[in-house]
Symmetry: C2
């Protein structure tokens, strides 16, 4: 085995010096199993970071389904095959009846890109509203609605308006409740008006339904329903990005269920194939029919039988093993433990999220809510040293991000809590 320094040198030469890596001392991972990742030295890490391996790393039944179908047939969708129909019908049945058609793609970026195309095709307008701290993917069009990583170099995107993400923790002007909702809705109305005035017009609002990259804020009451009303009144569509929120992690199948709205278009990705490149757009039938009528859309790999067999097996396991229940139960246990830690560690300013999507905001002062970004940076590196993987996110990079594979058990959560207790004490 090469050592880490050699790997880093090879990596910089092949992928670029700035290709992103986690941790001050990067991890060299060689094996995954359930909620565990194993490094080259045989050290095991509790994976509380990766949302993609939804039913656990290298789940043997998923691997078996993958291998069986890959050894039987792997072909595009211009021949008939039943796998795509069986899986697609089963998947759309998990949505509101209005969301009845599906477009298969391979990545969340592709899903969001096609969702933008569908919304623009339907409305005949180009303008998209998104939040000021979101990330929806990496294609040219989706990058334009992903300001999270722009920094100071934000390019001009005349077809995009950003609005402040709805945040109850650092609410502006000391607003709360309905007044806070009205504040954020006014920003949406202004953004739409600005697009209309500029001549670009308004096609839709694209939101992660749990605002994952924004740091899992507690959304002020009624925000999503009022936003949906404003969007529809302006002739636009609501695109619900479920790439991070979907497939049961929140304890709901979809993030928009918890928000009490039904988007016009939903995008799916990351956990859908447990790591296999599988993603989709689920949308109102009239929107998909119209898009198909006016645009030739084909995706060579999208909806192939192997991807669909994998997706179906992920649903099998999710249902049979009651992983949504587990997300609620272990999520609640984890949250309870985090609140106990908060009683001892003043650095914990807020605990947010649902199910096994957890955000812990670190602050240097609970009154001023001054972000503790440097401490969050140290915390995730110290957690790694103690064998637990997590990330950080949010406007100030001070929110610890936890989203383990759904089969995580209470005892795993206890390991995480014990390690975090030590780490917060040592900060």
């Amino acid at each position: 085995m090469s050592n880490t320094r050699q790997l880093l040198a090879r990596r910089a030469k092949l992928l670029g010096a700035k290709a992103p890596l986690f941790y001050d001392q990067p991890l060299h991972i060689v094996r995954g199993e359930g909620v565990w990742l194993v490094d080259v030295d045989g050290r095991r890490y509790l994976d509380a970071y990766n949302n993609v391996p939804l039913v656990g790393h290298c789940h043997p039944e998923v691997v078996e389904a993958l291998a069986r179908q890959a050894g039987t047939l792997n072909i595009h969708t211009r021949y008939l095959h039943e796998t795509i129909l069986d899986y697609g019908e089963r998947l759309v049945a998990k949505f509101d009846d209005s969301l009845s058609m599906i477009l298969f793609v391979c990545t969340g970026s592709e899903a969001n890109d096609q969702a933008l195309r569908i919304a623009r095709c339907h409305t005949g307008k180009q303008g998209i509203v998104c939040t000021n701290l979101t990330y929806h993917g990496n294609t040219t069009a989706v990058d334009a609605v992903s300001p999270l990583f722009y920094g100071a170099n934000a390019p001009p995107h005349p077809e995009v308006r950003t609005i402040p993400f709805p945040d109850s923790y650092r609410a502006p002007h000391g607003l709360a409740g309905e007044a806070l909702t009205t504040h954020y809705i006014a920003a949406l109305e202004n953004a739409i008006a600005s697009l209309e005035e500029s001549g670009v017009g308004f096609a839709g609002l694209l939101l992660c339904t749990i605002f994952a990259n924004e740091g899992l804020p507690d959304v002020p009451p009624g925000f999503m329903q009022r936003a949906l009303d404003v969007v529809h009144k302006a002739g636009g569509l609501l695109i619900g990005d479920e790439v991070q929120a979907g497939f049961g992690r929140t304890g709901h199948m979809w993030g928009h269920e918890a928000m009490g709205v039904v988007p016009d278009i939903v995008t799916l990705g990351k956990p859908m194939g447990n790591g296999h490149p599988l993603a989709a757009v689920v949308a109102r039938a009239d929107l998909v029919e119209e898009f198909r009528e006016r645009v030739f859309y084909f995706n060579t790999f999208g909806g192939n039988p192997v991807s669909c067999a994998v997706g179906a097996k992920v649903l099998d396991i999710l249902e049979r093993d009651k992983l949504m229940d587990n997300a609620r139960e272990v999520g609640a246990h984890l949250r309870q433990g985090l609140h106990a830690l908060a009683a001892r560690h003043d650095i914990i300013g807020d605990i947010r999220g649902q199910g096994l999507w957890v955000g812990v905001e670190l602050v240097t002062d609970r009154n001023t809510r001054q972000p503790a970004a440097e401490q969050a940076h140290r915390a995730i590196n110290l957690m790694k040293d103690r064998g637990v993987l997590m990330g950080r996110i949010g406007e100030f990079d001070n929110v610890l991000k936890m989203r383990p594979p759904l089969p995580i058990a209470r005892e795993h959560a206890d390991l995480l809590l014990a390690a975090l207790d030590e780490v917060l004490a040592a900060l």
Copy 2:
């Protein structure tokens, strides 16, 4: 098993009535093996259409590599893993030394989208030139440079100029040789000038290196080298789309080798993972470093160990089984047989392509070269009835398109030729 009519009804409801399908009577395929596809009634079809299963449908060694790695580790590239480095280094070594860095993605559309981003990042300009009959993929940005399917509804794309594809068979004004090349190069120069004059500026020329969707034209002498010179002189980049041309099918590893040029950026897809969603951008190191420096680029599934293990196994088989040699040899045998058919069937107007990328242009009159599109349509349906799958392509949809899995043998080519002889006689 459902019958075809039921499947079609389910498909229309789930995917849309206009979701594309092949053949007047669609095929319901249930199994693939080597160069064969098998339908629900057990009927075997010689697959002379599908370029994605490069080393053969459901190759057992590819399936084994897929399953082994999927059962060991499947993770993103923000942890170190060796599979990506081993595969990526091996792959870039197959290019000119100047093309030394790689960005992993999942589809050819993603590859071309990132290639556009890299070219625009480097030049600071937005303008792209492509041919009038090309298709490079389905993202918003790539769709703009894919006029093949626009028809009469071509939307305005101020950042795109199209040029006539270089065609020796239907050359304008009776031009030939260097004079024809000069004609096409002048169109490129005009397109670049138009972009510059409009204020958009010129970022690059995006070309499929074998002009596959354009119908595999015989390119007039020196066109690619002169185009490259014009592009560089104008401060732009040449993006060589190898999604269809690459990985040995032409008898060269890359289409641009046969054209005698080295692009600045190359995109890879379709056959790269033998059906697994694996694609990439290979480019000059300075371009990738600059892109990485200025843009946060990450792809959740791109470059995961499973995809890289599959890609490496495809290269193993391609090399060990000398499939490029086979592409040359069986391709020559097939072409020889097609020329023999042309001696008996006046409808064959032209036979083009390289290796196992073959185009047979059908015309109603060899002098006027009137396209025989309706006959081409009937021909591919009749070939299917005789158990051989092929497609059609080109400006008039009158070019029979053949691109079988590379392990095709002479006796398979003979089957195809015998069936085509009958079909052309019956048209």
